[in-house]
Each structure stands twice: as C-alpha cells, then as structure tokens.
Symmetry: C2
DNA sequence: ACAGTTGACTTGTCTAGAGGAGCTACCGAG
DNA sequence: CTCGGTAGCTCCTCTAGACAAGTCAACTGT
C-alpha cells in the first residue's frame, strides 16, 4: 500500500496529512469502493504516531462520508448505494389512475420491493408552519400520516403528510391502507381536482433520531423535500414533509425557459 | 447552565450522554443561535471526564452542523444563514431580456450584493459525462466557464458551465464578461431559442477543496445541482454543474399534477 | 464432520496529561 | 489617551497507554 510519510515540520497537522494521503488513495483509485483501509495498527506503525492521531485522520474521511468503520471488522471505502432518480412526473395523474402511489411508481421503474412501516395516523391541531402552508384557521385540525419507506427492506425515506381534517376525515386517508393510488387518488375520488404541486428541496445533516430511523452512517446528509398539493383553485390540500438519505437520491425537474 | 450528570452504569457511552445533554439544551431553546456553549474546561470539571471525552461529545454536534468551534474563542450554536429560496422561474426569458443573469435576479429579490470571482475560461476536450449530456461526438470540444459566486462578499456557490465549442466559440460567452443577461441571453442572441431546462438535485458532503472554496465548517453538506439547457428542438446547449452550501438554499419547483 | 471455544485482530471508548496557537481584556508606560 | 505587552481563557493537537466489544479463522473435542 502506497502510504507516504508525514512531515513533522509542516504547518499541516499530522492527522490531516494522514487524512490527505488516505483520501488520495481513494481519489486515485488505489482504493476502490468496498476496499478495506489499512488498520489502525498498521497506520500507527507506518506513520509512528499515536492511535488517537490515526483515529482522528480516519474520522475526517468518515465525516466526509467516504469511508465506513465497522466495529471489529475494519474501515472500508463506502459502497455507492443505488441512486434513485426521482422524476417529477411520478405524481402524474396517469399513475394514480392506474392505482399507483408515487413510491410504487418509483419501485416499478427502479425495480425494488417497496414497503411501508412505522405508520402513525393522528388527528389534532396543526403546528404553526403546517397551518400556514395549508392556509388553515387557528382552530382547524389536521390529519397526519407519518411513515417510513423501505426499498428491499432498507429504510430510504420518512414522510409525514398533513391534510385538513375537514378534507380527509371520513375517507380512507385516515385508514392504514389509503387504497389504490394513495392519498392523491382519494382526493380526486372525493372531487378535488389536483392541479400542481410545489416541491421545496434542501439538505442538512440528520438529527440523531433521523439517523436511527434511516440507519445512516457518519457523514451522510439528508435531503428534505416539502411537497404541497394544490387544486385547480390554487388551494393547498396536502403538505408532505419527506426526508431522504442524500446519497440515494437525485431529484429531477423540468423548468420552462419561457 | 442546566447540565445534568452522566450515568457510568449506562450502556450509552459518556461522550454520547454529554452530546445528548448539549443537544437537548439547544433543542429546548436553553441555548439559542449565537449562544456560547460551556467551555471544554467547564465540561471537564462538570462531568469529571477526560478532555478527549468532552471534545468527542462536542464533535458530535459539530458533525451535525449544529455548533461551530472557533479557535481561541469558544464553541457557539450555529447562526442560521440567510436562506435563499431559489424559484425555478429565475431562468424565465423575461429576466434575461431585462439583462439579468439568474444570480442577479436572485440578488435583486433577496437583496444582497452579488459578485463573481475565480473565473476560469477554457476550451478543450469534454469529460465523458459532459460529452454524454451535451450529446457530443468523441472529438468535439467544449468551452468551460468555472466561477465562484459571492453574496455580500461571502462565497455561496461554485459553478462550471460547459457549452459545445461549436456553439460558444466566437461569442462573448468565451469572454470574461458574458454581457447583459448572461450565457442564456447570448445563446438567444445567436438564434438558439431556449425551451426548457432540466435540473438534477442531490446532496452530499463536500470535498476538502470544496470546503475551502465555499468556506464551509464541519457538518455542512452541499447541494449539487446539474442544470441542462435545451432548445426548442430538444438539443442540449449548455450543462451547468453547481455546488451550493446546503443550509443557505431551498430550491423551489412547481410540478404539474396532470 | 460439526459445534464450541479461543486467540488474534479490529474498532470503540476513555484516561491523564502536555504543549501549541488564537483571542480578548486588562494594565502599565509613554 | 493610546498603544503595546501580558495573562488568562479558549480551542487544537498529540502522546501513551488501558480496557471494552465485535469479528473471524483456526483449533479442539465429541
């Protein structure tokens, strides 16, 4: 393995020099996805530094999301996960008319087994931000559906939908199984004609709870996608807060130039 | 300051318990944006643990992007940066007909002083991925314009545009100043009618170089946005790879439901 | 041949310092 | 009153271990 030396006279601290060299091995392709890094003991012996110095160097690469440490096994160059390209047409009417919710559309295209768990349905007062987005009055309630999506058994996303209770109550939206085509098909069954959605996309590091629910390792951000469904009158019918493991998703949009 | 104790009998390691308690102070609003955390010395004394244990606890919050350590000053709850909501209509024709490039449109709306630096213009062979996106032949060259954008002097984004040399050569696109309305205005000046753009959005942790160029601290991911401009014949005219500091951006899209 | 055990290797966590470097406020001298 | 120096506080970096816990391959006993 082509590890160099560290320069004690350098301004750059040894742990960063070691991190630089390991990063270089990955960037150059000397180490590729799935390869094991030199062990801590090997790095300690090679560079003649303390164990904490070596650990700090490797932690830099962990924080960058480039390597994954596995207790008792070693540290490995991260395997890329299958990237799901989410086309915005996944909410087209033809899909829900065919009885497919968006996640199922995605599963069919990409070829994975979709599953939903940790489902929680509740009715109650809306948080201020949700109330604003749904343009509700102070005392109007919302129905919320919280859930986690799995692809081939692996958590990939969490989502919470909010709809005005006045819209959703009494429909299958408040049941465990919303029925074919999901929430949007039920809304259209009830006579609401969906016109468009807005999607607000951002990214950040996950909270500890989010890391746990999505089974994320170090250095993996999440994509936050807040989608609002509007009817033809421009009225917001549903807000959906979703969280996705960032490495697994590319969101695709088409934007007019006119 | 309401710090608790650590439970040495717990399965949860002390450094994580300390991180949990500091996180709780922030979540509960006991510490708010800009507030200083207890110093390392204070935490060491309070919890009766080693310095490295305390540093590891604080590093958890740094990696989550929640706090920022400043050498010699202290560790502070991160100040939220001004969030720029990027509406997809920033590429509408009316803006470039008014002589405004997208960044200037954004600056006018949000009210900051826009600037561009680190400009590099080159002509040469295309990387395979760019060649594919622009649907170029093996020997066709591209013009590339690499630059960094600053808002009120602060780096917020880097971008590289690629256009077929056969399209861009001889125009102001290869000059330092592309002229009013930017690249897209020049393309339309030359007779190309822009029809739509695709935008592919993802997120990841920045590389070391990207951190440097964007002046990012620990635990701050970047949003990667690859935009492709198409003319009315569906031909790709330009590919623009951009990188944005994630906390500063929310991307907004409108998606039809039909 | 198989199951259980063990040893070696690996990462995880912690201790107890020590010294370096940045920052800031205060004090003393001019 | 101003400026330079200094002391104290702060985070950064490193050392040199020690012990815990997970993994895996090899060995041993049945």
């Amino acid at each position: 393995m082509q590890l160099g030396a560290i320069d004690r006279a350098s301004d750059r601290p040894p742990y960063r020099q070691i991190a630089d060299q390991l990063r270089e091995l990955i960037d150059r392709g000397t180490l590729v996805a799935g390869d094991k890094l030199p062990s801590e003991a090997e790095l300690i012996e090679h560079y003649g530094v303390a164990r904490m110095t070596v650990r700090q160097a490797v932690q830099e690469l962990r924080n960058e999301g480039r390597v994954v440490a596995e207790h008792g096994k070693g540290t490995f160059v991260r395997q890329p996960v299958q990237v799901r390209r989410l086309a915005s047409e996944r909410f087209a009417r033809r899909h829900r008319e065919a009885g497919l919710a968006a996640f199922s559309v995605e599963a069919q295209k990409t070829g994975f087994t979709p599953n939903v768990d940790q489902l929680e349905i509740a009715t109650g007062p809306a948080a201020p931000e949700i109330r604003d987005r749904l343009r509700l009055g102070d005392d109007e309630e919302v129905v919320s559906r919280s859930r986690r999506y799995l692809a081939d058994g692996q958590p990939v996303e969490t989502a919470v939908s909010y709809l005005p209770a006045s819209v959703a109550a009494g429909s299958r939206i408040v049941e465990a199984d919303t029925g074919p085509g999901g929430i949007y098909a039920r809304l259209e069954d009830m006579g609401f004609e969906l016109d468009h959605f807005t999607e607000e996309v951002s990214a950040r590091m996950p909270t500890a709870e989010e890391r746990r629910r999505l089974q994320l390792t170090d250095g993996v951000p999440v994509v936050v996608l807040v989608r609002t469904a509007y009817d033809t009158a421009g009225r917001p019918l549903e807000v959906c807060d979703t969280l996705k493991a960032a490495p697994a998703y590319v969101l695709e949009y088409e934007v007019p130039a006119r």
